[in-house]
């Protein structure tokens, strides 16, 4: 068998990198498998205005670069690969990437969450051709056009406000009759001269052959169906936890989030932190904080487990 590590951290966003910093400073010798989306959701944000310590704000990718540098400085080993399979039923635990098989006494899972899609065939077909989940990436291609944003949370508000600077008109399509976004963001959208809101509207399909022509919506109250013309539709309806790897291995809640007690999961020695287990806060700062907690919990667990193994070894 290959070398057995003390702890492997899966996922390289704020939670995983913070766990790596703490575990490295505790001389646990963490290995962190970053995945292709290393840096996590902050890599696709621009300005982060609410991370303490940066009164002028900081770019998301820059912040992640700093986290990473700090983890490396204390000797965390970073592997850029995608985990393809885990085995949490044997000890030590098994973690597979395309190229490698790794073993560890303890695992910290920080695989985060990904933007959710509507789940329509027409949406999949037109993704990249007017269907997008990233206004800052793709808004550029739709200058002075009419656009639709789907969603009612803070992300949807941010996308709409960003796009309103570029587009001739933005329509926010929301399936309820009020936003769940924070008041400050909702007010900015409602007061914007270029943004209209279509309440109680469920997206039935995205219309268009090679490119998006519009969005077909059904009014949840009247049942009326109409097409809102749009050159692009930006989907911002929330996030899903990245837990496909753990479906048969760990207890998850009905939405797929890892169930935790503190940072402990249903398997002893496996800890989870960050958005993959957070159904409430989902902030960079809370992800980082729970990463710290997971590192401390795993370190204590390792100490106890290894101590037990060495004493029982003496008796044998």
């Amino acid at each position: 068998m290959s070398q057995v590590h003390n702890v492997i951290i899966i996922g390289g966003g704020p939670a995983g990198l913070t766990a790596a910093i703490y575990a490295a400073r505790a001389n646990v010798g963490p290995v962190i498998i970053e995945g292709y989306a290393a840096g996590g959701q902050l890599m696709i944000t621009t300005e982060v205005e609410n991370y303490p310590g940066f009164p002028e704000g900081i770019q998301g990718p820059e912040l992640m670069q700093m986290f990473r540098g700090q983890a490396e400085r204390f000797g965390a080993k970073l592997i850029t690969a995608d985990v393809t399979r885990v085995d949490l039923s044997s000890r030590p635990f098994g973690v597979w990437t395309d190229a490698d098989e790794l073993r560890a006494h303890s695992l910290i899972i920080s695989t985060g969450a990904s933007a959710r899609w509507l789940g329509l065939d027409s949406e999949t077909r037109l993704r990249g051709f007017g269907v997008s989940s990233c206004a800052t990436c793709d808004g550029f291609f739709f200058r002075d056009r009419e656009l639709v944003v789907v969603g009612g949370g803070d992300t949807a508000m941010e996308e709409a406000l960003f796009l309103a600077r570029i587009a001739s008109k933005v329509t926010v399509v929301h399936r309820r009759d009020e936003f769940r976004a924070s008041r400050i963001m909702a007010d900015r959208v409602l007061g914007h001269p270029k943004i209209a809101v279509r309440w109680n509207a469920e997206v039935q399909q995205v219309i268009g052959d090679g490119v998006v022509d519009g969005v077909e919506v059904r009014d949840a109250v009247t049942g009326a169906v109409e097409v809102i013309p749009a050159a692009a539709v930006f989907v911002a309806i929330g996030h899903d936890p990245n837990t496909e790897l753990f479906v048969d291995e760990l207890d998850l809640d009905p939405s797929g989030y890892i169930l935790t007690d503190g940072t402990r999961t249903s398997v002893e020695g496996v800890f989870a932190c960050g958005d993959v287990q957070d159904t409430v806060y989902r902030q960079a700062i809370t992800a980082a904080a729970s990463g710290c907690m997971a590192a401390i919990d795993s370190e204590r667990w390792l100490e106890a487990a290894l101590h037990q193994a060495s004493t029982s070894g003496q008796h044998a």
Partner: protein, 107 residues
């Protein structure tokens, strides 16, 4: 290790359209987060397939008309050009295996 070439309006014809080998073009922009995520994946493909594939990146901010010509409306847009024609494409950040599959690159 093969470099990822800088593709511009000036060299697009020669480097991409007139290439004997297939060319993978990463349409990207500075302000695009997922483009930064996919960039190391593209670099890895470039070094692994240095013998069979030319790999380049094109800044859509500077060379918008080329992006528009190929209907690029979302980035990162990874386009595979064979004998001067766009034959396969993948849009958005994704793991390497998935990208290679979408581009039809045999492993």
């Amino acid at each position: 290790m093969a470099d990822v070439l800088e593709i511009t309006a000036d060299n697009f014809q020669a480097v991409v359209l007139e290439s004997e080998r297939p060319v993978l073009v990463d349409f990207w922009a500075e302000w695009c987060g997922p483009c930064r995520i996919i960039a190391p994946v593209v670099e890895q493909i470039a070094s692994e397939r240095a013998d069979s594939l030319v790999v380049g990146k094109l800044d859509v901010d500077k060379h918008g008309p080329i992006a528009a010509r190929y209907g690029v409306q979302g980035i990162p847009f990874l386009g595979l050009f064979e004998h001067g024609k766009l034959t396969r494409q993948a849009v958005g950040a994704m793991p390497k295996a998935q990208l290679e599959k979408q581009l039809g690159l045999a492993s």
